[in-house]
Symmetry: C2
Subunit: 339 residues, 2 copies
């Protein structure tokens, strides 16, 4: 059985209050007593019980991280950065992969809440839905602890959003294509999350602005996005249907990889005959030849800012409800436009 503060106090011949003081680095302890107590603690390898501690304190410097699927390249990286940043600030992370079902998400949010975390981070924009009703569980939770949104936005008291301007960035990307006279563009996407919708809007806006009808140029892939070959098949189908294109704008790197694979299969030269751009700037972009141009949405910057904001909020500072960074095009070999 593990030691308690009482055991230690007895062995050291002091009261539990003194042990507690030593434990918490209070200054009002004589060096001699401190050493005596520390020795006993050392000797018995004593660690205070976190539950008891959490009960008294009401905080255990823990934040809950909810993430739909942390095997997703982007989300995994986000979780990683978050955990690093939190650690650096003296917080621990309670991770929960919820999947994409709303009820499951709700349940886990409540579970996490019951652990009296100091704050909650929702990773990825799939936590924000279209309708108010679907977002209610977030508003409820915000009554208890600050809610941090990574790569999504939702305006509500005690909810803080840190995100990339996906819409603007996507418009910029699309304009690059158009400016380079690559006008037969198609758009490949596989998510209707908050940021997914923003990206679509960005693409649409750029096309509409030039009088091009975007609706017939946007294609939704339903399969599992990391099945690159399935994406390639999907692009093949589009081509087979008679859609002509010399440019592919993607909402995800995996989509771009599928497009690349389609090109390879058909001996289409990239970027001479087909220009391709991905999104997220993941490791995948460097894995094929030619390497894929992509958009860096500043994940590391976002996570850093998110944790900084959270820490600020927790220490009672006034913090911006919404922080937006703009994306950055990382030009590689699948596009021919120049910066």
């Amino acid at each position: 059985m593990s030691m308690t503060i009482y055991d230690i106090s007895k062995k050291a011949g002091v009261s539990i209050a003194t042990v507690s003081r030593v434990l918490n680095g209070s200054s009002n302890v004589s060096p001699a007593t401190r050493k005596k107590v520390n020795d006993v603690i050392e000797q018995y390898d004593y660690t205070p019980n976190a539950y008891a501690r959490g009960m008294g304190l009401g905080s255990l410097k823990t934040v809950g991280i909810l993430c739909a699927d942390c095997s997703d390249l982007f989300l995994a990286k986000a979780v990683y950065y978050l955990q690093q940043e939190l650690q650096a600030q003296g917080y621990e992370a309670l991770l929960c992969c919820t999947g994409y079902n709303l009820d499951v998400k709700k349940n886990y949010l409540n579970l996490i809440l019951s652990k009296k975390v100091d704050g909650i981070v929702l990773v990825g924009s799939n936590f924000i839905a279209d309708t108010e009703a679907e977002n209610k569980y977030i508003m409820d939770a915000s009554a208890q602890v600050p809610i941090m949104l990574l790569n999504a936005a939702f305006d509500y008291p005690n909810v803080y959003s840190i995100l990339c301007d996906d819409q603007g960035t996507m418009t910029e990307v699309t304009n690059k294509f158009l400016d380079a006279d690559c006008t037969d563009i198609i758009y490949l996407y596989n998510s209707l999350s908050y940021s997914g919708r923003k990206k679509m809007k960005g693409f649409k806006a750029a096309l509409n602005n030039r009088g091009i009808n975007a609706d017939k140029r946007m294609f939704f892939f339903e399969g599992k996005s990391d099945d690159v070959n399935a994406v390639a098949d999907f692009v093949q189908e589009i081509a087979d249907k008679g859609v002509k294109f010399n440019g592919v704008v993607c909402a995800e790197d995996t989509m771009a990889l599928g497009a690349m694979k389609y090109a390879m299969r058909n001996d289409i030269k990239v970027p001479e005959e087909l220009e391709i751009i991905g999104y997220n700037d993941s490791i995948l972009c460097e894995c094929c030849t030619p390497e894929i141009t992509s958009v860096d949405n500043r994940l590391e910057t976002q996570t850093h800012q998110l944790v900084a904001t959270l820490v600020g909020v927790l220490s009672g500072e006034e913090m911006p409800a919404r922080t937006i960074f703009s994306g950055r095009i990382v030009e590689r070999k699948t596009t021919s436009f120049v910066e």
Copy 2:
């Protein structure tokens, strides 16, 4: 401020004991009272405080997951599967990315321990070192809770190892090359972890068995392994040094990708002039052309077995201290041998 069991009991006009009974599904509550209490709980969206609960119970059905770097493709997937399995068994996961420094690992192990987790999973073989002294912190921890090792092995009471027979699999892989008369093989690796060493041994054994000296054919890459281009440079250097090779066996998929990149740069035909095999069967293998043959080390099976074993141990059953699966070659287009 959040509600307590007292608040609920007051609103419902019963004692806290009754509320507690309702909460924990005790049978000794009249349907009427139960409904009354449940209504209040519902109405105020009350969730019991997990710490207070944990103090009474001594367990919170939480297991700690330690992982050096969960942005690593393989480790991320492992964490993902683990979390899913644990969730399915009613456990939650406390995640900690420790990095590769021993002292940091120790600290986090202790921190996690102080949270009174029911068990601890060490993900990846980098937690097991060569020397007894370096593994002491694991032995110490095993005195408190069961320690589960994923993809590593260490024999000690209350430590359970679930792993893939990396050594045997690597020997098998190497033999395939040799059998196909691809004898000028080099071995690329970037880790000296437990499984890293096993893989090396496997490669060495196969070569030595045919009277080939393996030592001059093994190359250690020091850089960050997901920098594919750096790996390609590394392979280039090897070739420039005059080492001839028509086969590359890799300890990691990223290494194989680097080799692929090297081949592309030099217009070396794969697999006609150079055969390549990776390890881990990650998504990366399908991202390039030709797609890379790799080894599936049964991660999902491993994680499943690990959680099953943990749950068994926690419920007092006798469980195997070591469970070994064998790897499986997933043949794609960078090798010409046939199964």
